[in-house]
Symmetry: C2
């Protein structure tokens, strides 16, 4: 992922390296705020703007995605096509692999109207395992 950054012509600053390492294996879909607080430990002088700046750069290279569920934007290191499930109770967000048996073409009525669907975003809302009880 760092190599990709370099390939895209972006400079490998210590801050960027730290941010990339922080989100690379993070499945919790953190907000910029959350990342900032974690990074603040190792980089006490790091700016909020740098976090946003870097996340935008990563997204611009297609190395991360972002997720808007209301409230703060969340960042997602998973660049494979996938959907999300959000727990109404605890707010937890989990990735949902695209299931070929379930995913289908766009609704006929929409295609008929001349709308060209390029992406489809699904949010499953409900209660997660732990909050169901």
């Amino acid at each position: 992922m760092l190599a990709d950054l370099k390939r895209a012509g972006l400079k490998l600053t210590p801050q960027r390296i730290a941010i990339v390492r922080e989100i690379a294996d993070d499945l919790s879909h953190p907000t910029a705020q959350a990342l900032f607080e974690r990074l603040r430990v190792a980089f006490p002088t790091m700016s909020f703007a740098t976090v946003y700046n870097t996340l935008d750069a990563l997204a611009g290279c297609g190395l991360t995605g972002s997720l808007n569920l209301g409230g703060a934007v969340r960042f997602d290191p998973n660049t494979e096509p996938h959907h999300h499930a959000v727990c109404d109770a605890c707010g937890m967000v989990v990735d949902v692999d695209v299931d070929v048996a379930i995913d289908a073409a766009a609704p006929a009525t929409l295609s008929a109207s001349g709308f060209r669907v390029l992406r489809e975003e699904r949010i499953y809302r409900g209660l997660c395992d732990r909050c169901t009880s």
Copy 2:
């Protein structure tokens, strides 16, 4: 819709009546800002807070829904289950009726994880008829 408001124990103020009339037949999914500007013509003294207040009250009674696509929240008078299509170019939002032939159960992997899906929200992103050319 005004009767429903009354039934819910909310007072029928001139502002609320005006807001209800304004959104009742509006398929454009307006933001609070947009509504405020339209209402300002007839109610020059109307407050922003009143618009939010009323929209929250309506949503609380299940008389309207809201839609978060990034940027300002949009309000939706359509309370039937439906999805949305958003044009990447012009930002237009249209309702998409739920197509029984396309809609399906939640992914098996999600159900298997113990997540109980209560609602499903889909956003079709792409280009509308007019922006396709």
